[in-house]
Each structure stands twice: as C-alpha cells, then as structure tokens.
Symmetry: C2
Subunit: 238 residues, 2 copies
DNA sequence: CGCGGTGTTGAAAATTGTCAATAATTGTGG
DNA sequence: CCACAATTATTGACAATTTTCAACACCGCG
C-alpha cells in the first residue's frame, strides 16, 4: 500500500546475466536502462499485483522471492510457481490486459518495474531484446509444461524430490549452496504447488529425513544424497 | 515422412479471426500473408515435430486436431494439450532453439508453417503483429496455469467435467454444436492430460452417463446437462 | 508469557490405481 | 468382403496412495 519507488539502471545490475539479453552494445544497454521505470519494494505477504488488476508492467525480481497463485471462482487456489531473483513475473497479464493471478512476496523483496508498452516499443528496435522477450515467455511455457508432467504423472515422493532439486539448482545458479536451502514458503504452499496436502508434504519430508536423503530443521533443508533424490524423480529402471 | 507443401494466403483464410491479429490495413495483411511459407498435411498419428528437433517455425492449425506430449527421461509421458483449428503450436521451441515436446496429429490435419525468424522480422514493423505474438504466448501461459489448477486441486469428476466443457466450448466457438462433440483422442490420452488412468476416465464417463449428465457412445459425447457439469467444476457452495 | 500461525504424526476414510477379464471396434490382409 | 489381429474401451475386485480429521508440539512475535 505504500510502495517505495527508486530510480535505477540495469547496466550495472549484478543480475544482468539473469534477466537481460547478452551481447548488447553499450548504446543498446543504455536504452534498456530506460525500460526499468522504477524499483519497488514489496514486504512479506504483500502482493505485487493481484487477479483482476490492470496489467501495465512486467517485473524483474531483484531480491527476495514470490509465489504466484491462481484462485478459482469457488475459492480453491493453486500456487503456480515460486520466483526468485532474476526471474520475470507478470506475463499472464499480457493477453487480456489484466492479471489473472496474484503475486505475493514470501519475504521482503524488491522488483524492477518494466512498463510493457516500453518493452514492446524498444524491442521493435533492439533485436536482441525482442528475442529475449520471446525466450522469456517460451521458457515460462516450457516450465509450466514440466509442472504439468509433475502434477499429472508423479507420486508424492517424486514430486517433492523434483521440487527440492529444482529449488536448490536455481539457488546454486545464483551463487548459493549446492546442498543447503531455506524454504521461504510454508508446507501448505509447497503442497498447493505440488498438488498435495500439507500433511503429505510434511510426512514425505520426514520420510526423506528418516531415509537419510535430507536433513530437515524447520525451513532449513540440507540435501545429503542428491543422487538418491534424482533417482526418485527418474526411477531406477531407465 | 512425405509432407505435402502447398503455397497459400491468410488474407482469405476463414480462420483469420482465430489466428491473425485484427484491424490490419490491406498492406499489412498482405505482408502477413508472406509469413506463411507453406501448408503441410499431417496424417493421423504422424508427428508435426518432435522432442529434440530443431525449432524453425510456429504452426497454425488449419484443419484437424493435435496433441502435444511431453516425455520424461524415464519414459513417463504427459499430454500437455489438445489443439484445434486456429490454434498455434510450437511455442515451446523458441527458448532453446529446439522443440521440447512432440506434436502428434489425432486425425488427418493441415497446418500453416510460419518460419519464426520471419515472424520476428515482420513483428518489428507491424505493431499489431508484435502485440498478437505476445498475446498468443501469454494466452498459452494462462491456459497452462489453468491446467495446473485442474491437476493440482481437482478430483477426477471435476477434471473430466472441466475437460468436456472446455472442449465443447472451443468447438462451439468454431461453429460446431454447443452440446455434441467427437473425442478425437483415446481414453488413455484424455487420462494422461487429466492426470488420471484410462480406467478412471472410462468409469467417470460411465458415471456421468448414469447420472444423466451426458450421453456417451464411443467417442461421441452429447452433453445433456451442462449446468450440472459446471456445478461439478465449481462446487455448489459458492 | 501466551497466542496465532505453522508443523508433525497417527488412525481411519476416501479416492484413485492396478490387475484382470471381456467386449467392442477398427484396421489389415487374404 | 470376410476373418483375424490389434487397438481401444468397459467393468469388477482388490490394493495402494493420499486425504481427512484430530491431537499435539513448536516457534516467533508482540
């Protein structure tokens, strides 16, 4: 309700390789700086945008973590993703000019606001940006297909193993540990994302711990046997 | 293996309002005609493209129906969508330059091949086309989020009801009956899409028939009580 | 220090999957 | 055109997985 707005630039952002096209000339890079209108801080539990809200901008996450959540008419809801630094959210709003999901900060976070009409304008001139926008959208389509595979054909243990491996891999790509992670979301949110009840998530985590695959202490998870987790996701007989 | 290639034009295609931007000037429309390189016929059970294949083009379906299918490393597979006339497939290939799923014709079909580099080139000049491409990709993202909601939070009856209503609604938008439809896919394929076993699909269909919601004769389905189906998808207490 | 939100665990119930038998349909080749 | 094979669909009985309901523990914050 009281977002802070701050002027900034991509050209010296340390997340550049995560959310910007590569191989830009200095002049192109400078023009892209102009895309980011402002930064905006979003506190834990606050929404960046919500279902029904007019779509104006895409958001690049600078710090923190978000969940996107779909709520059906009858109140059922589904977490559709967890997004971290360098990832882009808001793509759902393009098609109808308003958002169709909520984006909620899981911790105090900061995003770069990129007005979409400026993105469209500039991507007509900077080919690398055009390509990049297409890639970001295609990547999201492919990611969601992977979630469909998970939800449609995996059992609880496989889903949770895939979830943990995916999270830690993305964190590692951002310079964090290859084996330790902090879950910023509740068991209930993990369950919603994985199509499981929170009790099932909790039980499955306990079983992983009992089997020596992970060490769990609250939201701190240490992956002890990544190979065993991987073999859960892709069963042995292959 | 022996695709037929035929030259054609969008400007007088009867599916124009389904797969092309609206409000184009005659000169813009003519330029868009140039996007469609060829038409290609794909026979039932043949693939339009498959996982790993180099990505070059998007495809607009002219006639027939396809399924897209994801196959995981261990051989598990997941149907990620059923596409019909006027819909676009191939968006998965943009991000990495190769397709990450298979597109299989469920009946003898015909598609328009649209080389993606031409689409990018032209959408730099024709704003309406640029916007259209973004909308198509965003629409696919939103569609997949809906499937995630279905797979993550609905039970078998709800999933199947949602599936039937979605299919018949899309068919109706194409001039077909509001209540009768022909399933071009097997029970197994429906089950894969809905995260259910084929036996569950069959049983649930039988139950719908016993309850007087639908009439099922092989792949011919008549929806007798669309309201009851809708109330299954969105349970009464709302 | 207590309270609300979060997490764990057990037992029973519900849903869906598995296995198996059979039927119906479609495609194929003689 | 018919017969046979292969594919697809239906149904039942039973098993496995996950959910539901409930009780209780833990933690962090005011």
């Amino acid at each position: 309700m009281t977002p802070q707005h701050i002027k900034v630039a991509c050209s010296n952002c340390n997340l550049r390789e995560l959310c910007m096209p590569i191989g830009l000339s200095p002049v192109e890079l400078q023009r892209i700086d102009e895309i980011v209108a402002t930064r905006r801080k979003v506190k834990r539990r606050e929404t960046l945008f919500h279902n029904g809200e007019d779509f104006t901008s895409l958001y690049a996450i600078r710090t923190g973590m978000f969940k996107t959540r779909l709520t059906s008419e009858d109140g059922r809801d589904q977490v559709t993703g967890f997004q971290m630094a360098g990832e882009i959210i808001g793509l759902d709003g393009i098609v109808n000019g308003h958002h169709t999901c909520d984006a909620v900060a899981l911790e105090d976070s900061e995003v770069c606001t990129m007005p979409f009409d400026r993105i469209e304008e500039l991507s007509r001139e900077v080919t690398a940006l055009q390509r990049h926008v297409h890639q970001i959208m295609s990547r999201e389509i492919v990611r969601e297909q992977g979630v469909m595979l998970l939800l449609g054909s995996m059992r609880a243990e496989e889903r949770l193993a895939a979830f943990l491996l995916n999270l830690v891999q993305r964190l590692h790509a951002r310079g964090f540990s290859r084996s330790e992670l902090v879950l910023r979301m509740t068991r209930d949110e993990i369950g919603s994302y994985l199509g499981l009840k929170l009790e099932t998530v909790s039980r499955t985590l306990s079983k992983f711990a009992a089997d020596g695959l992970v060490e769990v202490e609250q939201r701190n998870v240490r992956i002890l046997d990544p190979e065993a987790l991987r073999s859960l996701v892709n069963p042995p007989g292959c």
